[in-house]
Symmetry: C2
Subunit: 204 residues, 2 copies
């Protein structure tokens, strides 16, 4: 009977996964990314190291998922649902809403430093980069692109503008300013990027 | 007489500095950034480790200067001169020239991987970040800003556009695409960024 699945096993798995991710966020808040270890997270969550290695390959992956869970909780998102931009009919307002939320994440004293450390890891860890592309960047871009295509269909922005490039013009400068700490990250900056980029696609 | 400066001492210093930077580029091309060491660079340049530590604090700093020398040589730049954008009177053409050159640096098989490794270091090494800001980013932005202000004075782009934000719209998406490998880095992409950004500041 060792391999028989009990009806509550997936619920218990989910509970222990959540406990591990909560422990990871607590650990990194207390010690910083560099000093956080799989051992420390396991001890804090009250599980064995092997439980963590069953689901994650590295500290970077645990923290990636921990940050994701934390952001989704903050946004009231439902796990497994694709992210979407608001659609109030006002493309400028909707872009500003999401860019301002990105500014808030980057400058959040709890999330910001972990996001920064993860971004450094992503640039040298190919598996983590892949996780970031498929789980964060691509769904995020798809959400922007869908909203921009709706604006194209509504005749609010140039129909022939390449929406991927438009997304990069919105998010690239913001990420750059955050990564290289080259200027203040404010809602006003988010708004300026939205307004200027919309001008580039024919909306005055 | 031990401390008397001989007339050729600065020239000899310069020769040994150049030999070290050449050795650093050769070493990193052969071994990659991670396996390159101060010891290896010293041995290759035929100098003692202490000679390197006299001028640089870390491997990252040596390679930063080596890459800078390599780029300046490639551009035919004169050391110590501030960088400047071309000014042919055609702002679109001039921006495309410099953005295309950035694409060429990022995709250069010799420079690209070192630049990538340095960018990772920069995000965790505050002293290297400061070197990057004062020696690379700020002079580079100043060059862009000067060219954009000339275009404003010539009435080619909106006089009230914030030139710093315009620079970030030009360079942010390019750097983002390079860092996160999210799309092809081509001259066509450089041109699109220049054209769309100029549209954002009133030039059709």
């Amino acid at each position: 009977m060792a391999y028989e699945k009990r009806p509550d096993s997936s619920r218990r798995s989910e509970r222990s996964r959540t406990a591990i991710l909560d422990a990871a966020m607590a650990q990194v808040a207390e010690l910083g990314y560099q000093k956080t270890t799989i051992e420390g997270i396991a001890a804090r969550a009250g599980v064995g190291k092997q439980t963590i290695y069953r689901w994650w390959r590295s500290k970077g992956e645990v923290l990636f998922d921990a940050v994701e869970m934390s952001i989704e909780e903050g946004a009231g998102a439902v796990e497994g649902e694709e992210p979407a931009l608001p659609d109030t009919g006002d493309i400028a307002a909707d872009l500003k809403t999401v860019l301002r939320a990105t500014v808030d994440e980057f400058t959040d004293p709890r999330l910001g430093p972990v996001l920064r450390a993860l971004n450094t890891e992503i640039q040298i860890d190919e598996a983590l980069a892949e996780r970031n592309r498929t789980r964060s960047l691509e769904p995020g871009w798809a959400a922007y692109e869908a909203r921009l295509r709706a604006a194209q269909e509504a005749g609010q922005i140039d129909a022939d503008a390449d929406v991927r490039t438009v997304v990069e013009m919105l998010t690239g400068p913001l990420t750059y300013r955050w990564l290289f700490q080259t200027g203040p990250l404010t809602h006003a900056y988010a708004d300026t990027l939205a307004d200027m980029t919309l001008k580039a696609v024919g909306r005055d």
